[in-house]
C-alpha cells in the first residue's frame, strides 16, 4: 500500500501538514510506531516524522519562573543526562525504560502519544502536581491540558486529529522524588505496576502517580493529602511506620487494576502498597538528609 512520508523541518510546517493530513501518523522515536508497522498492525496513509524539528528536542527553564519546558522530542537518554539533577524521579523512571537503544530513541512525547497505562514517565508527571501537556494545532494556539486530564482510556488521550504534542511543562520543586516499578527482570520490561512519589517541601505537598494498575495512569489523591498532613515537615523527624503503612493502603485503594498476563489485580494492589511505603522511606530519608545539611 502506498504511504506518504512527511518530514517537516519546522514546527509551523508540522502543524500545517497535520492540519492538511489529519490522518498522518506522527512518528518520533518510532519505538511504538515502527513495531506496529513492522507487524502490519497499522497502515497509516502517511507518516509525519517529527525528528527533523530541532526545537522539539530542547528544554528550557526561562519561560515561567519555577517551571521547566521539556520539548516532546526529548529522548529518555537526554532526560537522564540533562534533567536527572532537577528531576531525579523522572530520571529514575527513564532509566527503567527498555534498553539503551530504546532510551536513545524513545521520547517523552511518544510516551504521552501512546498513552499506555504502563508508560513509565506518566506516573512521574502525575506526581509533579500540576504538570501540563501542551498541544497545538493550526486551528488552536498552543495550550495546556493538566496531565491528569490527558488520558481518557487505555492508549487513548485527548489529542484531536489535527493536534500535535509540543511540550511538557513541570513544576521545579527541588524536593525528593522516587519511582519504583515491578517487572520480571531489570531490563526491557513493561511494568506490572509502578509508583511515583514527589515531596514538595516548599508547599508541604505530596504528589503521587500510579502506573499499570488501571485503564490510565492514576493519581492517589487521598493518599497524597493524608501524607502531606502527617509528615513532620518542620522537625524532619523519623518516619512513623503507621503513617507509612496507612499511606501504602491508601495508594493501593486508589488503584483500579485488572488481572492480566503480567499479574493479578490482587498482586498489583499488594505491590503498590509495598512500593508506596518503600519510596516514601527513601524520599523521607532524602528529605531528612537535606534538612540536616541546611540546619
Amino acid at each position: 500500500m502506498s504511504m506518504e512520508f512527511l518530514r517537516p523541518a519546522t514546527w509551523a510546517e508540522a502543524l500545517a501538514m497535520k492540519a492538511e493530513r489529519p490522518d498522518a501518523r506522527p512518528i518520533a522515536g518510532g519505538t511504538d510506531v515502527m513495531v506496529e508497522l513492522n507487524f502490519d498492525r497499522t497502515r497509516p496513509p502517511a507518516l509525519l516524522d517529527l525528528t527533523a524539528i530541532p526545537e522539539l528536542a530542547t528544554w528550557n527553564t526561562d519561560i515561567v519562573p519555577g517551571w521547566i519546558r521539556i520539548g516532546a522530542g526529548m529522548t529518555y537518554t537526554r532526560i537522564i543526562e540533562e534533567l536527572g539533577g532537577m528531576f531525579p524521579g523522572l530520571a529514575i523512571a527513564a532509566r527503567t525504560v527498555g534498553s539503551p537503544q530504546i532510551r536513545n530513541r524513545g521520547t517523552i512525547g511518544g510516551n504521552l502519544g501512546s498513552a499506555s497505562p504502563a508508560g513509565d514517565l506518566l506516573p512521574v508527571l502525575l506526581a509533579n502536581r500540576g504538570a501540563e501537556v501542551w498541544v497545538e494545532s493550526v486551528r488552536k494556539k498552543a495550550g495546556p491540558y493538566p496531565v491528569y486530564d490527558f488520558f481518557t482510556g487505555p492508549k487513548r488521550n485527548l489529542l484531536a486529529p489535527d493536534e500535535l504534542i509540543r511540550e511538557v511543562r513541570m513544576r521545579v520543586t527541588h524536593g525528593p522524588e522516587q519511582f519504583a516499578k515491578i517487572g520480571t527482570r531489570n531490563a526491557m520490561v513493561i511494568a506490572v505496576c509502578s509508583f511515583a512519589l514527589t515531596l514538595d517541601p516548599g508547599e508541604r505537598e505530596v504528589g503521587t502517580g500510579i502506573g499499570s494498575a488501571g485503564p490510565t495512569p492514576l493519581l492517589a489523591f487521598d493518599a497524597g493529602e493524608y501524607l502531606a498532613g502527617e509528615l513532620d515537615w518542620e522537625g524532619a523527624g523519623p518516619l512513623d511506620d503507621r503513617v507509612a503503612r496507612r499511606f501504602g493502603e491508601l495508594v493501593a485503594a486508589a488503584a483500579n487494576p485488572i488481572d492480566d498476563v503480567r499479574g493479578t489485580a490482587e498482586y498489583r494492589r499488594h505491590a503498590l502498597s509495598v512500593m508506596a511505603r518503600r519510596t516514601l522511606g527513601w524520599a523521607w530519608a532524602d528529605y531528612r538528609k537535606g534538612a540536616a545539611e541546611c540546619a
Binding site: 512518528i27 518510532g30 515502527m34 513492522n38 530504546i102 530513541r105
Partner: protein
C-alpha cells in the same frame, strides 16, 4: 521514495524505498549490508543495532525516511579493510561468538560503551550497556570477558 544518507563513510542514494520500511530493511536488502541482523523487528533483541548519527539505535525501529541526510555506521564499518576492530578480535579470542547472530549488534553496542568509557568498565556497566542485546548461545560470560579484554587493550574511541 528516495533516501540519501551516508553509510560507513560512503554516500548512498537508495530509490524505491517503501515509506513504511525500516532502516534495517534498507541496509540489508537495498544496500547489500547484511551485517546487521533481523531477529525480532520489535526492539527486543538488539541484533540490528547500528550507529545513527553517532548513537546506537535499533535499526528495525527507525523509519527509512528518518535517516535521510543522516550518518549510519554498521558493524561492517568497524573493521579497517581486513583488520578487525580490537573489540571484534577480542570477541573471537574469548569465544564470545557461537552462532554469531547476536554478534553484530553486540559489537556495535559494546563499541559505543568503550568509546564512552575511560579504562575498563565495571561489569555492572557492561551488563547495563548490553542489556538491550539478547544472545541465546553463549550465556553472556564470554561476551563480557571480551569487552573487558578489548577495554584492557585500550580499545577506545576509533
Amino acid at each position: 521514495m528516495r533516501v540519501t544518507f551516508t553509510v560507513n563513510g560512503e554516500e548512498r542514494v537508495v530509490d524505491d524505498v517503501w515509506e513504511g520500511e525500516s532502516l534495517l530493511y534498507v541496509l540489508r536488502e537495498r544496500c547489500g549490508l547484511p551485517g546487521s541482523k533481523n531477529a525480532c523487528e520489535q526492539g527486543e533483541c538488539g541484533s540490528c543495532t547500528v550507529y545513527l548519527d553517532g548513537t546506537p539505535v535499533c535499526a528495525c525501529l527507525v523509519a527509512a525516511g528518518q535517516a535521510e541526510g543522516g550518518t549510519v555506521r554498521t558493524v561492517e564499518g568497524l573493521a579497517e579493510g581486513h583488520r578487525l576492530d580490537p573489540l571484534q578480535e577480542a570477541f573471537v579470542e574469548c569465544g564470545a561468538v557461537q552462532c554469531g547472530f547476536c554478534t553484530p549488534g553486540l559489537i556495535v553496542a559494546a563499541h559505543d560503551l568503550l568509546a564512552r568509557t575511560d579504562g575498563v568498565p565495571a561489569d555492572t556497566e557492561i551488563r547495563e550497556a548490553l542489556a538491550g542485546n539478547l544472545c541465546r548461545c553463549t550465556g553472556y560470560e564470554q561476551i563480557i570477558e571480551a569487552v573487558r579484554l578489548a577495554a584492557g587493550r585500550g580499545a577506545g574511541p576509533s
